[in-house]
């Protein structure tokens, strides 16, 4: 049966197909999340939620680049309190929901994770791509910090923990972080997030984004993210979720072959609209022939 072939399991979670809504896209209201689930996504990740409502940066918050999109939203979110309500409206209707969280340190991550569990999420995704102590760097580039936070949260939580690592082209650094996070008990690793980037307007003679720099997503980054997955797959045994520039079925197959168990899709919605999830699955089917999706994972190695 066609539909059966698309099923994948990520640790203990079974999802009906390997397309997942990426964090931060249409993800801060229950209505949005439900709409995306209705449009065919196997699961949805919420916007990354912090402890308090947060406004984010002034605009421009996005600007398109060749085959890519830069965004500097600044993690606007309604705060955990409000978000619990939104998630509950989704879980009432059914569907797999992953709660994404970001925090300033371990204690905050723990508290947020607990709240997410209470709200009924199926897994918690730790967004380690936000700059922390070090001004320009991120928690996810620091093996010790990444390990400490993953371990702290996963020890106390019943829900599976997915650790989301930033796109880091210093590959030996990334592999170290990935291995630390596995050791710390992560149930899956999501790679990558957006890649830091910027656009400058030649007439205005200043950066376009309100925050000056932002994160690059979309097809432009796919080759870079794909290679990170390919390398990380060789070094870890937990499932990997691929993220970066998935636009069509062929892209998803590439990610599966590289070693991803599923893909998160974000920016693709801008070009192919909300039913991209259904479209990607349809387009992937011919490549499967009579195999199930799981057979493909990592088989480009």
């Amino acid at each position: 049966m066609t539909k059966e072939k698309l099923k994948v399991t990520i640790g203990t979670i079974e999802i009906k197909n390997p397309t997942i809504l990426a964090a931060g896209i249409l993800g801060q209201t229950g209505a949005n999340l439900k709409r995306v689930l209705r449009s065919g996504a196997g699961a949805v990740v919420t916007k990354s939620i912090g402890p308090k409502p947060r406004e984010g940066y002034s605009g421009p918050n996005i600007v398109q680049t060749p085959c890519g999109l830069l965004n500097a939203m600044g993690l606007p979110n309604p705060g955990m309190e409000n978000m619990v309500e939104e998630i509950e409206t989704v879980k009432e209707k059914g569907g797999t929901v992953i709660g994404s969280i970001f925090g300033e340190g371990l204690e905050e991550f723990k508290k947020l994770s607990r709240k997410m569990e209470e709200a009924g999420v199926d897994a918690v995704e730790l967004n380690l791509s936000c700059p922390h102590a070090k001004k320009l760097s991120t928690i996810g580039n620091d093996p010790e910090m990444a390990e400490r936070i993953t371990k702290g949260v996963s020890k106390e939580s019943d829900a599976p923990i997915w650790t989301k690592l930033p796109g880091n082209t210093n590959i030996s650094n990334l592999l170290e972080v990935a291995q630390s996070v596995q050791k710390a008990g992560a149930d899956a690793i999501t790679i990558a997030n957006t890649f830091p980037g910027m656009a400058i307007d030649a007439r205005a003679e200043r950066p376009v984004l309100g925050h000056e720099t932002g994160g690059l997503s979309g097809p432009a980054i796919k080759p870079i993210a794909l290679r990170l997955i390919y390398e990380v797959y060789k070094k870890v045994d937990i499932p990997i979720i691929g993220s970066g520039g998935v636009m069509n079925g062929e892209d998803m197959i590439e990610y599966l072959l590289a070693g991803a168990s599923a893909v998160e899709i974000g920016t693709g919605i801008m070009w192919r609209d909300i039913d991209i999830f259904e479209k990607v699955c349809e387009e992937a089917l011919p490549y499967l022939e009579d195999r199930s999706v799981t057979k493909l994972i990592g088989s480009a190695h």
Binding site: G27, K34, E55, G56, G59, P60, G266
Partner: protein, 273 residues
């Protein structure tokens, strides 16, 4: 240059060609961009980069064949205040047009606008009249001074009714009062409505009872304009005002958050005013 190089959602930075102070709180700004102007239809909006301040949505109030592109700004905060300070020759960035626009089919159109809602509606009225339609326009504001585009509409071959809350011009009262006071038939194919949300809900209620199909143009917090940030989505449908809107059939959104609440920049629920 190759096709792929074209970044549709990147602002074109343009110098302001003309500013016109329309009312004490509303100014119109004009630039030249045939690229954007030629694609714009009434009801669509632009994302306007107020350089150094913010990027905000603004309805297209004029899109001429010569490339003229205009919008009209009510001063309410940082970005809109900055727009009120900018002069001819200074730079702003514009991307768009975005959204669906009004459906101008049918022969008899009723157009009702309040405050800054007049911006897209004046454009719509001009378009409809030029297509030979019968237009009745109800123009309302708090006071005579704030009646946006009054003289522009007076020049039009359309029936114009004005109303003000303080009675300083036309019929006295808030918009539904004005509608009630005039002898409005039910022969309209469509009613276009834009203004403050409270004005829209109360007026739509009235018009709906007459069985006239209503199109309302909504205003929600917008960060991206391209359908991915989710800040403009409506409960409970998840319809995005920037993509499936800003114009909705009243039927579609009657039972939504419309008239009840909206969301602020954090995504938290907040009152409609």
């Amino acid at each position: 240059m190759e096709d792929f190089y074209h970044a549709e959602h990147r602002a074109e930075v343009l110098s302001i060609r003309k500013v016109i102070d329309e009312t004490p709180s509303i100014r119109s700004i004009y630039v030249d961009s045939s690229k954007i102007s030629s694609k714009s239809v009434p009801g669509q909006f632009l994302m306007v980069w107020v350089i150094g301040v913010d990027e905000i949505p603004m309805a297209v109030s004029k899109a001429g064949e010569d490339g003229t592109l205009g919008f009209s700004v009510e001063r309410v905060g940082d970005a809109t205040s900055k727009l009120h300070e900018l002069e001819k020759g200074e730079l702003i960035g514009i991307r768009g047009p975005y959204g669906n626009g009004f459906d101008l089919s049918g022969e008899n159109l009723l157009i009702i606008g309040g405050g800054c809602g007049m911006a897209p509606l004046s454009f719509a009225a001009e378009e409809a009249v030029s297509e030979g339609k019968n237009v009745k326009f109800i123009l309302t504001a708090s006071t005579a001074d704030e009646l946006l585009f009054r003289s522009r509409l007076e020049k039009l071959d359309a029936e114009l009714v004005t109303g003000t809350e303080d009675g300083s011009a036309g019929i006295k009262g808030v918009t539904p009062d004005v509608v009630r006071k005039i002898n409005l038939g039910d022969h309209y194919d469509s009613c276009l409505l834009c203004g403050p949300e409270e004005m829209m809900t109360s007026t739509a209620d009235l018009i709906d009872k007459k069985g006239i199909p209503i199109q309302v143009s909504l205003n929600r917090y917008m960060k991206c304009g391209v359908g991915i940030c989710g800040s403009c989505s409506l409960d409970p449908s998840g319809l995005r005002v920037c993509i499936e809107g800003p114009v909705f059939q009243y039927e579609e959104i009657k039972d939504s958050e419309f008239g009840d609440y909206k969301r602020d920049s954090t995504g938290s629920k907040t009152g409609i005013q």
